[in-house]
């Protein structure tokens, strides 16, 4: 163990933090492509099936240099990919089942080899080898840090240079192929980068948790953006953050697990708080829509109850309003509407205000236009139409209502509901010099 000896002027903790951050960043970026292609399990398979390769490499080389062990891991990972391809191609086994089979077989073999190596009869410095299981960045050597950095630079360069090409094959492989892109080689470039990142990350977060480093940052980033390049940057950032925070707050705990739990926490927070796609944003939108619908129902009911007395705005007894339709919480609704200046309460009665009347008239117009449309064009029976209109009308865009109005007007089916705009009382600028665009 290097303890707290300074290397590169870095304490071990700093070295570990830098190493995990570098790993998190590159895993986040390359993970985006894996997740978007629906290949996130490939990382998991590679990680697990790397174990026997690591053990063989250790037995052969008698050292635990990251480079040597990584090459071993890569080779057994490739064997695993080959095995999955053969199984899916030549038998009826589906890909997910094949991945499960190969992953566990290789992992089992790895565990057996690991226990063989632990026997005293096998020589060599075994310290740190079992870090491949659960991850132990504390064993990181300076050379390991160099290797991680070199891999990160190469992978990020590949992504930067081939961004356009990766984007098109991930979105629409057939279209890309029809344009002459070598989709197979590009796919291979993505998968190879993924494999290399996975494997250099193994001693840090361990075989079992490595897949999380690939999947979490990408899945988290997806909540915050709709642009691929932003997603890559965010995922890289989340990966770095997971590495840094996990190492910082996970002191005294298994670091790999701490990093993965940090990533998981970021994911959960994003599920909750992301704008638009987050659960809280969705719930608020839903509640807001419900409230609006309830308010619109109130105003329309008041309009309909006032209609016979128009243009006077009569006082409507609360009981009449209550009997008119079902209300979930009329009192709350009324006090909210009073607050907004739409209605006035007079003891056991309510009255639309002038402002409230205008809104109510607009809403009723939209409702009736839609009802008329449904009855005439969609052949919905008149005793069902109120409900069908209710469901949709709150969501109708303004432009559609205008269209509806025009359609019904041209069919001569529209009473004088269209608000007439009086002629302007003064000379308009637009008469003299038409606006330029």
């Amino acid at each position: 163990m290097t303890g707290s000896i300074f290397v590169l002027g870095l304490t071990l903790t700093n070295k570990v933090m830098i190493g995990t951050a570098v790993l998190g960043g590159m895993a986040g970026v390359i993970g985006c492509f894996a997740v978007l292609r629906g290949r996130s399990l490939v990382g998991d398979m590679l990680a697990h099936s790397a174990l026997p390769g690591v053990c063989f490499a250790f037995l052969l080389l008698n050292s635990r240099s990251l480079l040597g062990l990584s090459i071993g891991a890569l080779i057994s990972g490739l064997f695993a990919i080959g095995a999955v391809t053969i199984i899916t191609h030549w038998t009826r086994t589906k890909e997910d089942a094949a991945i499960g089979i190969v992953l566990s077989t290789f992992f089992g073999a790895g565990i057996v080899l690991l226990s063989v190596i632990q026997k005293p009869s096998v020589g060599g410095n075994k310290a740190g080898l079992d870090s491949y299981l659960f991850g132990e960045p504390g064993n990181m050597l300076t050379a390991d840090l160099y290797l991680l950095t070199i891999v990160a630079v190469i992978v990020l360069l590949i992504v930067a240079i081939l961004f356009k090409e990766f984007k098109i094959i991930c979105f629409d492989t057939d279209f890309a192929k029809s344009q002459g892109w070598p989709t197979l080689s590009l796919d291979l470039a993505i998968m190879t980068s993924l494999a290399v990142v996975t494997i250099v990350g193994l001693p840090i977060v361990g075989v079992i948790l490595m897949a999380a480093m690939i999947i979490f940052p990408a899945a988290t980033a997806r909540f915050w953006t709709h642009q691929l390049h932003t997603m890559l940057l965010l995922a890289g950032g989340f990966g770095i953050a997971a590495g840094l925070l996990g190492t910082k707050f996970g002191q005294g705990l298994p670091t790999g697990a701490a990093i993965v739990l940090t990533a998981a926490a970021m994911f959960v927070l994003s599920i909750l708080f992301a704008p638009r796609q987050g659960m809280i944003a969705r719930l608020t939108a839903e509640v807001r829509l419900r409230r609006r619908m309830a308010r619109e129902h109130l105003l329309r009911s008041l309009f309909e109850l006032s209609e016979s007395a128009l243009p006077q705005l009569p006082q409507i007894p609360l009981q009449r309003l209550r009997d008119y339709r079902y209300w979930r919480s009329l009192d709350a609704l009324l006090s909210k509407a009073t607050e907004k200046g739409m209605v006035t309460r007079l003891g056991q009665a309510v009255q639309l205000t002038a402002v409230g009347y205008r809104h109510a008239a607009e809403l009723t117009k939209a409702h009736r236009l839609w009802e008329m449309y449904l009855m005439q064009h969609a052949n919905i029976a008149s005793d069902h139409v109120d409900r069908d209109a209710d469901d949709v009308e709150h969501l109708l865009p303004e432009s559609l209502l205008v269209e509806l109005e025009q359609q019904l007007a041209s069919a001569g089916r529209l009473p004088a509901l269209i608000a007439e705009v009086p002629v302007s009382p003064h000379q308009l600028d637009s008469d003299a010099n038409p606006p330029k665009h």
């Binding site: 356009k164 192929k177 029809s178 709709h226 691929l228």
Partner: protein, 255 residues
């Protein structure tokens, strides 16, 4: 007689050794709207994919303006089926249309101002100009289809392959597509369209390819789209071909 835009020679296509298209052979003149018509499983999509080199040919060859697809792919535009991609993918409408220019750009070069202008113009042509910055997941089915058409337009091709552009789209989109087809024809482009609705074939197309695992007929709509030919196309599956295909498939072990 105008130039031949597209030609298929004795082409047979097989999936896992099971032939799905037998001995297809036809040629199409330039500047026509061509409907590819046939029942489900007739191999309409396969015909397009084979022409574009997306599935291997068991035999025969495809020629575009007299040369192989590899040499002429810059002349070809492609609209795959809408369902073939993930509409949740993190890209904007303009990003998707820009992909049409990638082939021309070649390796490493990124789309710039000129390409963005092309993309915006193509979006305008399909009536989606105001959607350029939208997320593709917010689009309706018809709008998705129009974005795909805009992407093909951005390829600035001579020969277009459209795989079921009318499938599941709204009336407005259908009108927009037909208008677009007419514009393309008037500028001398050739368009092959996989089409499901026999009712509208006469209205939309000049030429028709009737397909049912083999080529039933190919020619101008007036002379080719006859009841007799339709009967041959739709009148029951060709059991002999089916059985032969099955026999080929059975030859392979473990399947």
């Amino acid at each position: 007689m105008s130039k031949t835009a597209f030609e298929i020679h004795d082409m047979t296509v097989a999936y896992h050794r099971r032939p799905v298209l037998w001995d297809i052979d036809f040629e199409l003149p330039e500047g026509k709207l061509v409907g590819i018509v046939g029942p489900n499983g007739a191999g309409k999509t396969t015909l397009i994919k084979a022409a574009l080199g997306l599935v291997p040919l068991a035999s025969g060859k495809v020629e575009i303006y007299g040369k192989s697809y590899q040499e002429q792919r810059h002349l070809v535009g492609y609209v795959p089926q809408r369902e073939s991609v993930d509409w949740d993918f993190p890209v904007t409408v303009r990003d998707v249309v820009l992909m049409g220019t990638y082939g021309r750009l070649g390796w490493f070069r990124r789309p710039g101002r000129a390409e963005r202008d092309i993309a915006d113009r193509c979006l305008q042509q399909v009536g989606m100009a105001s959607f350029a910055k939208r997320q593709i997941r917010q689009l309706s089915g018809g709008q998705q289809q129009r974005v795909f058409l805009a992407r093909a337009l951005a390829q600035e091709a001579q020969l277009y392959f459209l795989d079921e552009p009318f499938g599941g789209v709204d009336a407005a989109t259908e009108v927009a597509i037909v208008e677009l087809l007419h514009t393309l024809r008037s500028t001398g482009k050739t368009v092959l369209v996989v089409h499901h609705d026999i009712q509208t074939v006469r209205e939309y197309f000049d030429y028709v390819i009737l397909l049912n695992m083999r080529l039933v007929a190919c020619g101008p709509v007036e002379t080719t789209f006859t009841n007799e030919n339709l009967q041959k196309t739709y009148g029951g599956r060709l059991t002999i071909l089916d059985e032969a295909a099955e026999a080929m498939r059975q030859r392979e072990p473990n399947r």
